[in-house]
């Protein structure tokens, strides 16, 4: 059975965001997810950072400091090839999870 915990969902969202946008800082990730999900998903801003750092230590994303459009220093994150592979797996697992949960809900 595939690994499908809901906690991993945050990782999935962050990595997918980085895949779609490329390089982005933590605040940008929060805004992106909120906008793309049509305001349905609001990330707990504080909980994002431990997740980002954990993923960095796992080698799924890398980071470097750069200037924003408003000339502020911010730490930009980017998906690594390893992270890309991980994302694919996570996506598959998530699909399974959703399918499974839906099947249970639709059972009459």
């Amino acid at each position: 059975m595939a690994k499908n915990d809901l906690q991993g969902t945050l990782d999935l969202l962050v990595m997918k965001t980085l895949l779609q946008v490329g390089e982005l800082h933590g605040y940008g990730i929060v805004l992106h997810i909120q906008r793309v999900s049509g305001d349905l998903l609001r990330i707990e801003e504080g909980s994002l950072y431990p997740a980002l750092h954990r993923m960095e230590q796992q080698g799924w994303i890398t980071a470097n400091w750069a200037l924003t459009e408003t000339n502020r220093r911010a730490k930009y994150y980017k998906l690594t090839p390893e992270g890309r592979k991980r994302l694919e797996e996570d996506e598959k697992n998530f699909e399974h999870l959703v399918k499974g949960v839906r099947a249970v809900l639709r059972y009459a």
Partner: protein, 874 residues
């Protein structure tokens, strides 16, 4: 991967802290900017940003945790804390580390020798299936066999896959710089195949290459190939000359190959035995064999005994009274070292034990003093597991430091011990080449280090669990646990004294044995004797040999400082008293028994030069030459064994029915022909003039140091004839000091003596520690006693009694253990009983004096306490 990265982050924790701080701040600022852009006031924008973000400091910590492995961080802080603790108490740390390193070094260094000699297998295929074969005679179990016996053994046995003979000797090699003495061995064709060794270059001897008709071929040792021929590949097929006979080089042996019975052999030639049926009596070969699968050495032994009995019946003149000995090859090669190495290993283990006990005692005292610290830390919220982790870290640090220093010291000790082995003995022990910190030794060292770490961490942890941690805050409490632990400390000291006593008694017994050995009566005056081993080019005429020896005697006798000179075929005090023969007594029916004796050919002046003591009859005279009737001088053991209760003088003996009769004209006091600790064997001496040879020793008694005369003797010999090979030059005293038995006794005595001294020192320090600690704990009690009117002398007595009690317990236990230990090493003792009363008395005296001295200092301090101050201590 990620774990490694997280560990590395440990070292840049502060940088990380700043980075996280910056990152979170930039997030908040961007949110504030956006909020202001939507029209909020600066204050509102800020509050909203913080609200959305949640708990800032907890986020910071969680983020940090994602980056850094915090368990490791704890350990690291423990290590730093432990380091500070040890730094604060440097004397404790250094004593503990040095004492442990001492025990570690001793046991690891000795184990390295045990490993090289007893554990590491010999460099042959399946060495446990190899055996050594000997003929046994009435003189002992390990004698040479003759070539014809070897052939019969090989043909008739049913228990060996193969059986091969070898003979080790020194030969003269023709080189561009003249003749050189080199070690060589002649082996039968299948010798290397039996060992399971193949040449690295060229080929092995072929079957049939060891017959008299075959061409002469030689295989080089790897060292000879490298050193003498520069490792040239084209050495194969080249001709070399040994004793003037040309040999063709056909192969080179592997680098790691060694064969201790012929350790110095550089040239291995195929054996060319003569199948002359009269040669059966010429016993001059050794043999090895490989057991067939499933056959034990015992089965082989009985099979060989049967064959030997048949041969003895078939050839009574040559093989009568002879049987066969089969022992494992390893037993033959290292058997004599086993007991001594096990002894040393036990000594080293005892020292390690005493070192550990000693440091445990120190730890006890220290943990007592740290109760307060532990209590404070636990009151400040340190969990029990955290305290244990702290103590374990400290123990591991001590053990690790001790192991590191100990390993370095062990390496040095091994090198030093090797240097102390005389070169000629080292050559005979090629298996020591692999000595060093190899895998086995490192594994054992690691195990010892781990055991030490375990002991050092267990001790305070147990202490922690027994003592009520929180009660430690009330520092003054002389609780029951303190007494328990003090008692344990004393018991440990008694154990140390007991161990020290065992080692001291052991050292005393071995030392006395060694003294006895060096002062054993060898029947001659060994001082001022120079010995030169000579071999003249082979001649067929006996007159030439005699003329040469006369010339040598004359020229050598004229040298300044030389008082008298003599010729002999063999010199006394050999590792093995070889050169024995069967003989019969004329006029005495044999009834199937065979008489065996060592026989020696000595020159006319030999007995007077070595200053032997004549018991009866006369020495040889110049007139006892080949033209006169044969004469012999026998030793007292010979006379006692073969003419019990009768006079040996005037009796006749002969080698066999075909040889001329020999009249016994003298009886000389026993001269040690074999090892110093060996039993006296029957020997008969015949005049060199009646049985000369081209290989002999020149013995010179000198007025001053014989070492100086050796050199001029050497040049004189070469002036007489440059073709004479001088294969050994030594003084008699060196010879005695360098024999294996002397060396083994000496090294045992010195090493165990060293262990014993260290053990005594540690025991005394331990005792001092316990008593001093007890005085510090009992200060208040002493104050009370004084206040109640106790005299200073009685306080002094009180403390001294503590030391005395420990001494008595230690000595009683030590006496019993020493008796057991003495009995175990009985075989290593020479002329000394295991329960030597004198040594026991001296050892007990030493222990008593040193323990009393060690308790006197704290006792004096206790007696000079000021009672008012003592009562005020908490």
């Amino acid at each position: 991967m990620s774990l490694l990265r997280r560990m590395l982050n440990l070292f840049s924790r502060t940088t990380l802290d700043h980075e996280i701080e910056d990152e979170l701040r930039s997030h908040l600022e961007m949110r504030i900017d956006d909020n202001i852009a939507t029209g909020m006031s600066a204050e509102e924008a800020r509050r909203d940003a913080l609200l959305r973000f949640g708990n800032l400091s907890s986020t910071r910590e969680q983020t940090m945790e994602a980056d850094v492995n915090l368990t490791l961080s704890d350990i690291w802080s423990d290590v730093r804390f432990g380091w500070r603790q040890l730094r604060r108490d440097t004397s404790f740390a250094w004593i503990a580390i040095l004492v442990l390193a001492l025990g570690f070094c001793g046991s690891v260094a000795i184990f390295a020798f045990v490993d090289a000699v007893l554990i590491k297998p010999l460099p042959y295929q399946n060495p446990s299936r190899l055996v050594a074969l000997f003929e046994s005679t009435s003189l002992g179990p390990r004698f040479h066999l003759s070539y014809l016996d070897y052939l019969d053994w090989k043909r008739q046995n049913k228990t060996f896959r193969s059986l091969e003979a070898y003979d080790e000797k020194t030969v003269a090699l023709d080189t561009t710089k003249g003749k050189q003495v080199v070690g060589s061995a002649a082996v039968s064709a299948g010798f290397f195949r039996t060992l399971g060794v193949a040449p690295v270059l060229g080929r092995d001897f072929r079957d049939g290459e060891d017959t008299p008709a075959a061409a002469r071929t030689a295989i080089l040792s790897y060292a000879a190939w490298q050193n003498r021929y520069g490792g040239r590949i084209d050495i194969l097929g080249e001709a070399i000359a040994l004793e003037g006979v040309p040999y063709t080089v056909v192969g080179v042996l592997p680098q790691g190959f060694h064969f201790a019975p012929a350790a110095t052999a550089e040239f291995w030639t195929a054996l060319h035995g003569s199948s002359d049926p009269n040669g059966r009596g010429e016993h001059g070969l050794w043999a090895i064999a490989r057991l067939k699968d499933g056959v034990t050495a015992e089965t082989a032994s009985s099979d060989m005994a049967l064959i030997a009995r048949q041969l003895a019946n078939q050839y009574p003149d040559f093989d009568g009274g002879r049987s066969a000995t089969v022992i494992p090859l390893t037993e033959m090669i290292v058997g004599n070292l086993r007991p001594i190495l096990l002894l040393l290993l036990s000594g080293a283990i005892l020292l390690l034990l005493i070192a550990c006990v000693n440091v445990s005692g120190l730890m006890l005292v220290r943990s007592e003093n740290r109760r307060h610290e532990m209590a404070v830390r636990s009151a400040l919220g340190a969990s029990r597991a955290r305290l244990v982790q702290q103590l374990v870290t400290e123990g591991v640090m001590l053990a690790a430091a001790a192991s590191l220093i100990g390993a370095g010291a062990a390496y040095g000790t091994i090198r030093l011990l090797l240097k102390l082995v005389p070169l000629n003995m080292l050559e005979d022990m090629p298996y020591l080449q692999g000595l060093g910190l190899n895998l086995h030794v490192v594994a054992v060292a690691a195990a010892v280090g781990l055991a030490m770490a375990l002991l050092l961490s267990l001790m305070p942890v147990l202490r922690l669990s027994i003592a009520e941690v929180r009660s430690g805050l009330a520092q003054g409490g002389r609780s029951g646990t303190t007494t328990t632990w003090r008692r344990l400390g004393s018991n440990l000291v008694a154990l140390e004294l007991c161990t020290a006593m065992v080692l001291l008694v052991g050292a005393g017994l071995l030392g006395k044995s060694f003294y006895r050995l060096l002062h054993v009566d060898i029947g001659i005056q060994p001082q001022h004797l120079a010995l030169l081993g000579l071999r003249a080019p082979g001649t067929t005429k006996q007159e030439q040999d005699i003329a040469l020896t006369q010339r040598v005697l004359e020229e050598a006798g004229r040298l300044p400082g030389v008082q008298s000179t003599a010729i002999t075929r063999q010199v006394p005090v050999a590792n093995v008293a070889g050169g024995n023969t069967a003989f019969e007594i004329v006029g005495r029916p044999q009834h199937g028994t065979v008489y065996e004796s060592n026989d020696r050919q000595v020159g006319t002046t030999y007995f007077s030069t070595v200053q032997a003591r004549l018991a009866r009859g006369r020495y040889f005279a110049e007139t006892d030459d080949a033209s006169k009737p044969r004469v012999a001088i026998v030793n007292q053991t010979f006379a006692r064994r073969y003419f019990p209760g009768k006079d040996a003088l005037g009796k006749y003996i002969r080698y066999d029915a075909a040889s001329p009769v020999i009249e016994i004209v003298g009886v000389v006091n026993d001269i040690k022909e074999g090892p110093l600790d060996g039993e006296a064997q029957p020997v008969f001496y015949t005049p060199f003039g009646q049985d000369p040879g081209n290989s002999f020793f020149l013995v010179a008694r000198t007025a001053q140091d014989p070492k100086e005369v050796l050199r001029s003797l050497d040049t004189t010999i070469h002036r007489i004839d440059p073709d004479i090979v001088v294969f050994s030059t030594e003084t008699m005293e060196d010879r005695i000091n360098h024999t294996q038995s002397t060396y083994l006794h000496r090294s045992a005595a010195w090493l165990v003596g060293g262990f014993a001294v260290m053990a005594l020192l540690l025991g005394i320090v331990g005792l001092y520690g316990v008593i001093a600690y007890s005085v510090s704990q009992r200060t208040k009690e002493i104050g009370v006693r004084m206040a109640m009117g106790a005299q200073r002398s009685s306080i002094n007595e009180l403390i001294m009694n503590e030391g005395r009690r420990l001494l008595v317990v230690g000595v009683m236990a030590g006496s019993i253990c020493s008796l057991v230990a003495g009995n175990l090493i009985r075989k290593l003792l020479f002329g000394t009983r295991p329960w030597d009363l004198g040594i026991f008395t001296i050892v007990v005296g030493m222990l008593a004096v040193s323990t009393m001295a060690a308790s006197y200092i704290p006792a004096r301090r206790a007696a000079s306490l000021n009672p008012v101050e003592a009562l005020r201590t908490d």
